[in-house]
């Protein structure tokens, strides 16, 4: 069912309460998600974005209940990943000649995905406009936020920024707006989205936000392509992005470990004792990487000023779960964070050394060579770990 946002703008997307994983298994979505599409009905009618492919038929069926599809004059595609462009084929079957406004790269991505023969593309650049009557759409290219084709569309008159994935969150709600949901849940999901998806492109976020501020747009609402609409104080999420794109950290040290026979866990907990003893104010958190959701751990890394990564040495290397976290952290390019490694071992004890090398490659500033202990740590071994934690706390304070 369409949801009216203003006199002229309606939400016509799909709320997905069932979604638990996104991008294959790359991203967990504990609060579901939505694929937001918007319909602007002025003297001319424009549809902004569509929904994920599995919902293409129901999207078109519901859109037909809102409007005679032939009355749609323009389709605007801000970004063409399948969760937004997935219903295009179904829609274009009904209205094949309708012009699709997108960036040049957007056209090539649509062509690469759906191989259309005869769709009518109109390539737009920053500053190009589309007059709809009382309202005008202005396009703002936003490459790599988060794909090369991404653009924002700004509707003057109604003063709405359609930002696509930027400022989005995987967050299902029937009530649409940011002030109608639990704020802690919302802000966690907004930050998780940034920490897992947007962070690699922080340099582009910084540039684009400066450009947006420089344009002096009146922004009454930010309508992203996932999650809630920022209606109450929409500037708050822009301010958050300014914080997040600039080597964001809180006073937190996160210890991420895996353990086979509890020895590496005991080491991690002894290190945590040492950190907290020296620094009462720092938040210390421990996560077993094979037990706790990987994307939640990455969000905790994003919040941290420093991390410790622990793994037992297994088959002369480190564990599967730790390897996964390290590879994701490398790709996400966290900046301005310190790190070190630890672990228990039996004979070859190379895991901390290998983890340290990987952390360095991933852009972390290495605090020291880490600590390793053979077999099951005894009281003295654990005291050493606590001492190590104290030194780590001092070095990262």
């Amino acid at each position: 069912m369409a949801k009216q946002i203003t006199n002229k703008v309606s939400w016509v997307g799909k709320i997905d309460w069932e979604l638990t994983k996104f991008h294959g298994d790359e991203l967990s979505t504990m609060h579901g998600s939505s694929y937001n599409a918007y319909l602007i009905q002025d003297e001319k009618t424009a549809l902004i974005d569509t929904v994920w492919q599995p919902y293409d038929k129901e999207f078109v069926a519901r859109l037909k209940k809102t409007i005679d599809l032939k009355k749609i004059d323009y389709i605007v595609m801000n970004h063409n990943e399948i969760d937004h462009s997935g219903a295009l084929v179904e829609l274009m079957r009904e209205i094949p000649g309708t012009p699709i406004y997108c960036t040049k790269k957007g056209e090539s991505i649509i062509r690469g995905h759906y191989h259309p023969q005869d769709w009518n593309f109109v390539n737009v650049k920053t500053g190009d406009t589309l007059n709809l009557g009382q309202n005008t759409l202005t396009f703002i290219e936003a490459p790599m936020l988060h794909w090369p084709d991404t653009m924002f569309s700004y509707l003057s008159g109604e003063n709405i920024l359609f930002s696509n994935d930027a400022f989005g969150q995987h967050f299902a709600t029937e009530s649409l707006y940011n002030d109608t949901v639990k704020q802690d849940d919302l802000m966690w999901e907004a930050q998780k989205y940034y920490a897992n998806i947007i962070n690699p492109f922080s340099m582009m976020v910084s540039r684009k936000v400066k450009e947006l501020i420089g344009m002096n747009l009146t922004i009454k609402m930010i309508c992203p392509s996932h999650g809630i609409i920022w209606k109450d104080n929409p500037k708050q999420i822009i301010d958050k992005y300014i914080d997040w794109c600039n080597e964001y950290k809180e006073n937190q040290i996160t210890i991420i470990y895996d353990t086979m026979w509890q020895s590496t866990r005991k080491m991690g907990e002894a290190i945590a004792d040492g950190i907290q003893e020296v620094d009462k104010d720092v938040t210390v958190k421990l996560f077993n990487a094979s037990q706790i959701d990987k994307n939640d751990i990455l969000t905790e890394i994003f919040q941290s000023k420093a991390i410790l990564v622990g793994s037992p040495t297994i088959n002369n290397g480190y564990s599967y779960a730790i390897a996964g976290i390290l590879e994701m952290a490398r790709g996400i390019k966290y900046k301005g964070k310190k790190a070190a490694a630890f672990g228990s071992y039996g004979w070859n004890g190379d895991a901390p050394k290998m983890i340290t090398a990987h952390l360095q490659e991933a852009g972390f500033e290495i605090v020291n060579d880490g600590i390793k202990k053979q077999w099951v740590p005894d009281v003295k071994d654990l005291d050493d770990c606590t001492e190590y934690g104290k030194e780590f706390a001092k070095a990262t304070k």
Partner: protein, 53 residues
């Protein structure tokens, strides 16, 4: 020295700035970047860059 723009993501390589994250010092021309240097934003190689007009 000329600035170069990434075809994929529009990142601009500015020789005056270099690419400190990968150890490229300020004052390094685009031509002098190592062959295996990649765009710090989207990861494509030097072949996907063009002189900024």
């Amino acid at each position: 020295m000329e600035k170069y723009v990434c075809d994929v993501c529009d990142y601009v390589y500015d020789p005056a700035v270099g690419d400190p994250d990968t150890g490229i010092a300020p004052g390094t021309s685009f031509e002098d970047l190592p062959d295996d240097w990649t765009c710090p934003v989207c990861g494509v190689t030097k072949d996907d860059f063009q002189v900024q007009k």
